[in-house]
Symmetry: C2
Subunit: 113 residues, 2 copies
């Protein structure tokens, strides 16, 4: 299992709208930097910075093809992570049954109060 540090690190790296967008596009295959320019409304250097960050953290990798740099997903968690984020949930988790949110309840632990 990933260490806590590694798990947090992965979340931090993914927690940005540009990088999530990049990862979602990469789920459908290899893309080069200028492909990203087509749908990200940010500067090319900024795209490079985000790609570099993702790569440094082991989330993506690339190969060079002439003057194109082609990026692809490397960490297999990415599709699963994105799938969870897109999953629909009907309801909130129920408040603990013994102690409804609206009234005072008894704390379920072993303290006196």
């Amino acid at each position: 299992m990933r260490s806590l540090h590694h798990r947090v690190d992965l979340l931090r790296v993914c927690a940005h709208h540009v990088r999530i967008h990049i990862l979602e596009e990469l789920c459908s295959g290899v893309k080069c930097v200028s492909d990203f320019e087509e749908f990200l409304q940010i500067s090319q250097p900024n795209i490079s910075q985000h790609l570099n960050l993702l790569r440094r953290h082991g989330v993506i990798d690339y190969y060079n093809d002439g003057r194109l740099r082609c990026y692809f997903l490397k960490d297999p968690i990415v599709p699963d992570l994105l799938a969870v984020l897109k999953k629909d949930y009907i309801e909130e988790l129920p408040a603990p049954a013994c102690c409804p949110v609206t009234k005072k309840g008894k704390y379920p632990g072993n303290r006196k109060h």
Copy 2:
């Protein structure tokens, strides 16, 4: 489905070692602030700040029980998200077959170069 904004927001809120730890503990049930003090090596005000952040973003909620404040999970995505993060993967995703990482390959899109 959650909006991109909402998905990023959730990741940002979870992407901190203290908050991940809090959420993992909450997966096993209700906890009050002083319970968190037992395993988080940070000050009580700092714990409150993290709890407040999680609550403001709809991830957790609480009920009061006397002078105890009992927190619980609210957003049903949390257990699924944490489960994915803990999942073990044997291998990295393969580099695109047509263009191995170590040699130059052909870009699979429809550009000239």
